[in-house]
Symmetry: C2
Subunit: 494 residues, 2 copies
């Protein structure tokens, strides 16, 4: 042991160097028997050997046998000012990897390989000759064109603002209601297909809402220009022409084209503006990497769900029927891990890979699709940073307008959570064709949670609390829905 | 959302401040509609708005609607020089706690509460009227006294060095052989009792070995003094008298007393010296804390073993009989977690609580019973820092003497591992009354492992490798022995 000098951890040098030195000599017999000759200075601060010169002079043959103990504290007792535990982080990582490896192995042994791409396809279409979801999505163009033409009429002033508003409201309402109707009258539409198409329609709703607002604002600005010509150069639409050097600049009525509209429909943002920041060029390598990630994580997600989620959920049906509490908790925690991993992969797949891929393809410049929510120390910070497109939309078209109407902040915030809760419920209940309020309540529960965490926890505790709410919160909702879905469709769950 | 300014993570300020500023304004509608008015400077470095003064002057009613996008990269893409993932550490901790909580709950559901103090007692004595282990330990005094008297004879020169050496060798051999004989002729001695008493005897062996060496060295020094009086004051035994102020100083022949001997026997070190560093006083509070820890961890260890280890081990018997490889690995990983936790608790209990308790009680000054092995980046560093008393002994009485005899370092190191391997085997095989070489091979495997890690891995990888070898290595050996023990004593394992 210790024949070569071991890498000295930093603290040694920090602590009494003479001690470290003595110890190191002790560890290194290569220095010859003289090494331990001079008793090192201890933390107590006195030398166990009076004569300073001794270390240098050649020691007598057996002096190394003299003293091999020094007065000192153990590292872990508070008396020794020691605090270097970087090894512990590695320990955490190793333990996590090993225990999850075991879980995965156990799962393989128990169920064999369940991954099956064919099954995935069948989720999308029961009958391979009818593609309800696809058709539904294609039909959505109608509403886009409707919105565009309404705006054109408004631009030329052939219809009044109020009429335009009515048309828009009708159009937006139709966007939300139409898919619901379809889902209920077309039984061949599977839950997965339903979620997809409803997702598309929800996104479309928010985009169209932003579209109408922004255009209205432009009209207001145009009128403002007409009124106070003096300040005309402070009109952003004009102002921006100075900035966007080298790019064709669009100002108000000129933006009402199919090209502009569809560009807005496809780029990964929900907030319309006349002149989006554009990235200078399409980086091929970047594009390829994102594409690879998209495909890879797609496979991974499907695999994890089939191999890990499905069996775990099925196993947890029984305890939930019997309301066996301790087993329910155990199942819940067991489900929490895969569910959380899947959520993390999904986040990366959707918000980083896919959105960046599309943005790169369309040269859309603003790639801030998420901020550093993983460091969030308050629930509020998490919700306002993990999904920036939606957050931006809520801020611009929902929250601030309310504030301007004189609603106080807490009410406005709660309203935003309510809207968000509504859409969560909308995206889950309709495709599953059953109305529970789990998703809704889950979102609304964030308000008191946010208050609690913000009030009582901060720093790493706050961060940990946010993580826990993420890891535990979701599987609860998932289990609730799956349980009810089983009860409805397969009678008593297996 | 985001109505109050969220705690800004450090990196924002680090990154382009203007961007951060713009974002923060964007997040804070309280600043009024003017907030988003001025498009922030992007990382690309140009303003999407030419006029600098705009932000300050009262903006036109709808200017906030102008631009809500800026040219920027996603945090996770390498282009953004972002690297703040402190949240991940909290994530690791939360995941670890949750998954182990689940394991524990699962265990409780499966087996109920297995903790049972009575059972513990029965481990020590089958027949409450015969205490073989205790008697065996009491008998050990014979050897202590034998060593002391041999030294006394040697001191006065009534026997020659060679005779003294013979007597010591005989005495030391007896210390190792005697308990083995007893274990085999007294069937009522349980494995646990056997391990305890053999442990005591092993410690005693090392102490007595150190005792004889140190005294011999002192005699050599005394002769050296007689020969060269000029350098007499460089004799450490005298030299130390200057240092140890206020303490009664002992020089060579004067140390051969019962009091001195038994003090050495009871203090937590294996290396004898004439004048141990003494702590100035007994700190009551420190003593009480260590005592509490001792009792608490004792209970915890017993509980964990009964509740977690025993059932897991029993479950893993079947796969090991059937040599079902994948299940064997799964069982192994399942066993690794509790085994590792128990080892960690044991380490703290033995090397920190117990040793500090005894040392405090006996005012023994040198509390370095372990160094920061948890940061060790090489296997060598781990082995030379996790158990300092043994390491010190090996260095002083085994490794250095060999080097002085001209053995090269690698050979000497291997020899140390061999000795260590022998004692590991000795402490396991004898009490279990069966001779497998698992422990022996386990220790010897450290030599190639040390070479490999030192050669190919360093930094955190080395550290992780050491952790893995600890977490995985031990349960392998444990399973091997338990398996064989079952096969022998209960025929086919349950």
């Amino acid at each position: 042991m210790g024949d070569r000098p071991p890498r000295e951890p930093a603290h040694r040098r920090r602590r009494t160097t003479t001690l470290g030195d003595g110890v190191r000599r002790g560890l290194r017999p290569g220095r010859g028997p003289g090494g331990e000759g001079d008793p090192p200075v201890t933390e107590a601060g006195y030398t166990s050997n009076g004569k300073p010169g001794k270390g240098t002079s050649p020691p007598p043959p057996s002096s190394w046998s003299s003293s091999c103990h020094t007065l000192q504290e153990s590292l872990l007792s508070s008396a020794s000012g020691y605090s270097n535990y970087r090894g512990i982080l590695n320990w955490c990582v190793v333990m996590l990897v090993l225990s999850n490896a075991r879980l995965f192995l156990e799962n393989l042994i128990k169920y064999g390989i369940l991954v099956d791409p064919i099954q995935v396809v069948s989720l999308f279409l029961k009958d391979p000759y009818s593609w309800p979801a696809a058709c539904l999505i294609i039909v959505s163009n109608v509403f886009i064109i409707a919105a565009l033409h309404t705006e054109r009429r408004l631009a030329v002033g052939s219809i009044s603002e109020s009429t335009g508003l009515k048309l828009h409201v009708f159009n937006l309402a139709a966007i939300l209601v139409f898919p619901v109707v379809i889902v209920f009258i077309v039984p061949s539409l599977t839950p997965v297909g339903g979620v997809l198409s409803l997702g598309v329609y929800t996104v479309l709703f928010m985009k169209m809402y932003s579209y109408k607002d922004t255009n209205r604002w432009c009209r207001e600005i145009r009128q403002a220009q007409v009124k106070r010509l003096t300040r005309s150069n402070s009109c952003p639409s004009v102002a921006q022409s100075n900035g966007r050097a080298g790019q064709a600049h669009v100002s108000y009525p000129g933006n009402l084209t199919y090209r502009d509209m569809y560009y807005f429909v496809f780029i990964p943002t929900l907030c319309y503006e006349l002149n989006f920041p554009r990235s200078p060029r399409i980086r091929k390598s970047f594009l390829m990497r994102r594409l690879f990630e998209m495909l890879f994580f797609m496979q991974l997600l499907v695999g994890l769900i089939q191999q890990w989620m499905v069996p775990t959920v099925q196993n947890s049906m029984k305890p939930f029927q019997e309301m066996d509490f301790s087993r329910m908790v155990e199942r819940l925690l067991k489900l929490a891990v895969p569910n959380h991993l899947i959520w993390l992969f999904f986040f990366y797949w959707f918000f980083h890979s896919s959105m960046n891929f599309v943005a790169e393809l369309l040269q859309f410049g603003d790639r801030e699709f998420y901020r550093d929510w993983w460091n969030s120390e308050t629930v509020t910070y998490f919700w306002s940073n993990w999904n920036i497109p939606v957050h931006k939309w809520c801020l611009r078209h929902f929250y601030k307008p309310m504030l301007r109407k004189g609603v106080n902040k807490f009410m406005a915030q709660t309203a935003v959570f309510l809207a968000s809760a509504f859409f969560h419920e909308y995206l889950v209940s309709i495709p599953l064709r059953m109305f529970r309020l789990w998703a809704f309540m889950g979102m609304m529960a964030q308000v008191p949670l946010a208050w609690f965490v913000g009030r009582f926890l901060n720093g790493n505790y706050g961060n940990a609390a946010v993580w826990i709410s993420l890891i535990i919160g979701q599987p609860v909702a998932v289990l609730m829905y799956v349980h009810d879905y089983y009860v409805i469709h397969y009678g008593t769950p297996a």
